[in-house]
């Protein structure tokens, strides 16, 4: 499974980055995840912006839903899962597992 994700949070200082890191760590440890690219939209600005190639190859898009995500139209036609940044921080392994089951 190829995952792409965009994380953001109201203040853009901490949860954005914790959620991104947590998802990446869980993806690395997961047997079902082939690749995982995470773009952060924090107060610093957009970092690790997803490339068109990464988007095209992705099986699923994870977006945090704490505040609006910029440039969401890029993901048109892709399966999108919306979760709280806090859920990614605490439950990324479970989220990846459930996604893999759904997409199988």
């Amino acid at each position: 499974m190829k995952i792409i994700a965009v994380t953001a949070c109201p203040s853009g200082v901490a949860h954005t980055y914790m959620a991104a890191e947590s998802l990446k760590v869980a993806a690395e440890e997961s047997k079902v995840c082939e690749s995982c690219f995470v773009e952060t939209q924090g107060q610093i600005g957009i970092e690790d912006a997803l490339s068109p190639t990464q988007i095209q190859a992705a099986d699923v898009v994870i977006l945090t839903n704490d505040i609006g995500i910029k440039n969401e139209e890029r993901f048109k036609g892709k399966p999108v899962l919306r979760v709280h940044a806090g859920d990614l921080i605490n439950k990324s392994p479970i989220i990846i597992e459930k996604l893999a089951q759904k997409l199988a």
Partner: protein
């Protein structure tokens, strides 16, 4: 790093019964170190942010954060609690380490914000959390965070 972290704003032996007592203690330290221009407004901002959603991110760690003009410079104030306290944390566990991120309202694109982002990322890693929790001196905490964050910034840039 010295600008963001300093021994003056780290207390590894905080006695507190609730969130508000932790906020008060860290506000006092920040104010004494000249990092606030309006301590009352700052404290209120942190409490207001906390009221929106809990900053107890799990793993016994909380990351309260205020973003306000009452702050002079980007800082990280750290409290290690003598006794874990309830923080309405996302995983339900009590909190014994508090990293309070202190951010001026107007600091977009600031390099210091990248340090806060890097610290936030590091807190996801259990090894880093354990090392920090076991640190017994403020110098040790500063060195741990400084080393890790510098590495992270080098890798990611």
């Amino acid at each position: 790093m010295t600008e963001v972290l300093s021994s003056a704003i780290i207390d590894l032996n905080v006695s507190a019964n609730n969130k508000d007592e932790v906020f008060s203690r860290l506000t006092t330290l920040l104010n004494r170190d000249g990092r606030l221009n309006d301590p009352d407004a700052y404290l209120q901002n942190v409490k207001d942010r906390e009221a929106l959603t809990t900053t107890g991110i799990g793993f016994g760690i909380a990351i309260p954060h205020g973003k306000t003009d009452a702050v002079n410079s980007v800082s990280v104030a750290i409290a290690k609690l003598q006794q874990p306290i309830d923080w309405d944390a996302m995983d339900g566990n009590p909190v014994d380490m508090v990293f309070q991120l202190v951010v001026p309202a107007a600091s977009q694109g600031d390099a210091h914000l990248k340090l806060l982002a890097a610290l936030s990322r590091q807190l996801i890693h259990a090894d880093f959390r354990n090392e920090i929790k076991q640190a017994t001196s403020t110098d040790e905490v500063i060195a741990l965070i400084g080393n890790t964050i510098n590495q992270t910034l080098e890798v990611s840039s």
